[in-house]
């Protein structure tokens, strides 16, 4: 690790995609929170967590907060996650069913 978490913003399939790599914990979650808030502003967002190596409840609260914010703004949050730390935490806490989780950016971008 040089940097514990890196964020990349891109536009794919007409959607803004925020790709997170590395570790989301108490040290890095505030940085993610701020960037997600900047990007949401009433726009749909794809949060790509496929390259996340670690996430704990601090990170999960950022994800759930982003989902609530999307609902309040009348827009959507789509999450990309594959088998790994993110899906493990979703399963452990039972929140997976409350979120729109996809296996690829293409699938996520098709989400209304």
């Amino acid at each position: 690790m040089t940097d514990p978490m890196t964020l990349d913003v891109s536009s794919e399939a007409g959607r803004t995609v925020l790709r997170v790599r590395g570790e989301i914990d108490l040290a890095t979650a505030p940085v993610l929170e701020e960037r997600v808030q900047q990007l949401q502003r009433g726009e749909p967002l794809v949060l790509d967590l496929a390259a996340v190596d670690f996430v704990d409840s601090t990170g999960l609260r950022v994800i759930l907060g982003a989902d609530t914010r999307a609902t309040n703004q009348g827009t959507s949050l789509a999450i990309v996650a594959v088998d790994g730390p993110v899906t493990r935490l979703f399963d452990l806490t039972g929140v997976g069913s409350r979120l729109a989780v996809f296996e690829s950016i293409a699938d996520a971008a098709a989400h209304e």
Binding site: M1, P4, E23, D25, L26, A27, F54, D56, S57, T58, L60, R61, L64, P85, R88, L89, L92, T93, V95
Partner: protein, 131 residues
């Protein structure tokens, strides 16, 4: 008995103490991960231990009462059990908001509990073959 251990030998103790700073949680996770691998735990167990230690360490930092976070891994050769202790923590530190560290830790390790005599969270970890 975890596979890498060549003989039961004596109980072993691995001890880490770090300043209560979120930047050090990654070090705490690496410590428990490497120690668990040396003790023969597989990568699923290692991932669960990293998560539990990160949650508990975050709770120590969030309590705001302590300058350091302590993580201890101890083995009990007779039973093959290990215990992971994270502190200082007292009842209440792990609960609070919905989706708090305590929820995650108990989902991972149902036997985890605050040991008030040690002022810490104690996580019993089954020997590898039993997991």
């Amino acid at each position: 008995m975890p596979p890498h251990m060549s003989e039961p030998a004596a109980s072993e103790r691995f001890h880490l103490e770090l300043p209560s700073d979120p930047a050090n949680l990654a070090t705490a996770r690496l410590f428990v991960a490497t120690t668990a691998r040396v003790l023969g735990y597989d990568e699923d167990a290692v991932a669960d231990l990293k998560l539990a230690v990160s949650e508990a360490g975050s709770a120590v930092i969030a309590s705001g009462r302590h300058e350091t976070v302590t993580v201890v891994v101890e083995t009990t050769p007779t039973t093959g059990m290990a215990t992971v202790t994270v502190g200082p923590l007292r009842p209440g530190d792990l609960t609070g908001d919905h989706l708090n560290p305590g929820d995650v830790i108990l989902a991972l390790f149902p036997g985890a509990h605050i040991d008030e005599t040690r002022d810490a969270l104690l996580i019993p970890v089954e020997p590898e073959p039993a997991r």
